[in-house]
Subunit: 393 residues, 2 copies
DNA sequence: CCCCCTTCGTAAGCTTTACTAACAAACATG
DNA sequence: CATGTTTGTTAGTAAAGCTTACGAAGGGGG
């Protein structure tokens, strides 16, 4: 039963709510159906429990059409009736619907850490049900791929509901087909990861850059709007950009790769890439921690710490100001170790951006830390699967 | 007859090819129809003369459906049969179709110049049929609006085919409803320009920021791809961003407003906005020309000129590098006086961007001057009308 | 020269989709 | 208790694109 549901679902063309299927593609009635289907799902996903009539009102579709779509979605076990509404109102009492968040499970993978591969089983609501971590200890290339296989296998063994798919957030450059064009840390080049995983495990797989996964998670589970930039500070510095609710990929799938942009006009340390003053030289976590370590021997360690963090935050602000200006971003979210990014760092970054952009346009800019912590990529990977399979985000 | 055609068209829901109508909106069969209709038009627009069977093959629609859509489009006079294909091929000879570029005319307006309001009548192919310029000599506010009215009136008097609509490229911030939120030079604030023009002239009107209009023109008539940034250098500095074929608007409709982003970490001249070192202080045309004027008295005027232009180009590069990096732009186009932007300026800008970004991702960046000259906004304004009315770009 | 094959455009009928109209069920309220 | 309201469903309709089939119009081989 569970299997048949899953396989039925895999044959559906799930149009993504709001977005078109493909540019320059014809639209058939069944595409419209898929779109409206996803729209119903999206409505219930974001607004929670609602009756068919409620959904009809908020989507603009008729009650009849909504009923029809709901019947279909209930047959796939995506929706369940959760009983009558208990608020007394005139008229026939409404039967409430909700997404059955336990109907399917998703395997999410985060390959961005330099020490461990993280994996988790999640439900449709993005809740992490189980985690597995695998220390990689410098494993690279084919061996790292084998590690990934075994990580996924151990997760699949614990799945207790039909599997919707596997989502992977990988470091490096990932193209639209899910091929890891290059991930230097893992020594992967042109690895068709999506295809390999999909073939090996026989389920739909989505692979994307870790920062892109993260920005999707922030959009879905943080309270972020449609235009959003998420900056990840870790071993390196990278970003994901969501513009108009859509991920930006860039001409070579390298959008968000800001770690090696030179910041300022006053030199800077030598970077591994050969340039001086790259963003990473100013604020990658290892470099920052090294500087903070040295500062502990200073006469006033706390003051030195503040100075170092303010300097790093300022540099981030200098790099972000033209981007915030050009895109007129309303919100930028930082993801990384709170101990580094909170406090002086983020304050200095915001001051700098404000001081270098036009207040009238960007005074309302929100710069904040992500609340999703270390799970951000895992949860983003799940969002990718949910979004691609159900058209819900 | 002509009138009836135009009014029929105005009632159509012209879905935009490739893009959806609205996010989070239901899709009805008639929306699909509009989309496919636009798709046929788009195919003929870009590929030129084709038979119904050709269109069917390249769109994926069946010959039957294409025939039906073509019948409709011919009834609206948008398409015409241009005779049989003369290349001998087996089978029944094909009847070629083409867009009748003279079937409708468009009024395009460029308000971005500080000296004159420019207007033109264009055909569907974007060819300028007639121009009118009106010196404004510092006119602002209500009086400037009256000037605009009379400019449009004089253009409308010369229109010789049904009018598809009026497109306006305005300086300042323009929201999605076509309201000029603020245009300091014209002293306009919260002016509902689209609504006023539409009511006054009784035709569809589209209003957008001049740089946004320009980037659309470059996309349609230059050979630009889907991801494109167009930087306009004139009295100020502004940009338009086309990402994934869609204009970026930003959280406060101020996307592309990079003129007052501070460049570099070494001070700079005082800007009218109160900050030091804004991009405009480095390369707005009046400032550059003033510097070049002074340089004429130097011992080696040519060398001084080169130094000044290289410095300005370098500053543009410093500002653009983070943007190019974050968006992984493949193409940036400059629009402005060739005498300033060509040569040393653009060369220095490109070198700077290259030197400050990762070569592997951005080595292929194309930085070039627009070939559309002073007509770029006029033609962009026409593109906006064509795109919004016919779904063609 | 004739027949076969190919290609083009169109007709007729079918399937899908969402709509309108109408109705029974179930409850609140005066 | 009658009335009005809201919900969800049934029946029938309109729009859109599809498949199947066919006549028209030409090229090429025997």
């Amino acid at each position: 039963m569970a299997r048949s549901r899953a396989s039925f679902l895999s044959q559906r063309i799930a149009g993504s709510a709001g977005r078109p299927l493909r540019p320059n593609a014809k639209v058939l009635p069944e595409h419209a159906r898929g779109h409206n289907r996803a729209l119903v799902l999206q409505t219930l996903f974001t607004a929670g429990q609602q009756s068919r009539a409620d959904v009809a009102r908020s989507t603009g579709l008729t009650r009849v059409t909504v009923s029809d779509l709901v019947t279909e979605l209930m047959a796939e076990a995506l929706l369940v009736e959760t009983g009558q509404r208990d608020v007394p109102r005139p008229g026939k009492p409404a039967i409430l619907l909700d997404i059955d968040r336990s109907a399917f499970q998703i395997v999410g993978i985060d390959l961005s850490d330099s020490e461990v591969f993280r994996g988790a089983v999640l439900d449709l609501g993005g809740t992490i049900l189980r985690r597995v971590e695998l220390a990689i200890a410098g494993t690279v290339g084919e061996a790292a791929l084998e590690q990934l296989f075994s990580l996924i296998e151990s997760l699949l063994a614990t799945v207790t509901a039909p599997l919707l798919g596997i989502g992977v957030g990988s470091p490096g450059i990932v193209d639209l087909a899910g091929t890891v064009v290059s991930a230097p840390n893992l020594h992967w080049t042109g690895l068709p990861l999506r295809a390999e995983l999909s073939e090996r495990f026989g389920v739909p797989v989505v692979v994307a850059n870790d920062a892109n996964a993260a920005v999707l998670a922030e959009h879905s589970y943080g309270d972020a709007q449609g235009d959003l930039m998420l900056v990840r500070v870790g071993r390196g510095v990278g970003a994901g950009l969501l513009l108009g609710g859509t991920l930006l990929h860039g001409s070579r799938f390298a959008a968000g790769e800001i770690g090696h942009v030179v910041v300022g006009t006053d030199g800077g340390e030598l970077c591994s890439c050969g340039k001086h003053g790259c963003l990473e030289t100013w604020l990658a976590a290892p470099r920052l921690e090294a500087k903070l370590g040295e500062a502990k021997r200073d006469p006033d360690p706390a003051a030195s710490r503040t100075i170092i963090l303010r300097e790093a935050g300022t540099r981030l602000g200098i790099a972000l100001a033209p981007i915030v200006g050009a895109l007129n971003l309303g919100e930028v979210v930082l993801s990384g170790p709170d101990s580094l990014l909170g406090g002086s760092f983020i304050a200095a970054a915001l001051e700098t951006i404000r001081g270098r952009t036009m207040d009238r346009f960007h005074g309302g800019l929100a710069l904040r830390l992500s609340t999703l912590g270390d799970d951000i990529v895992l949860r983003g990977a799940a969002v990718m699967v949910i979004s691609s399979r159900l058209g819900v985000s």
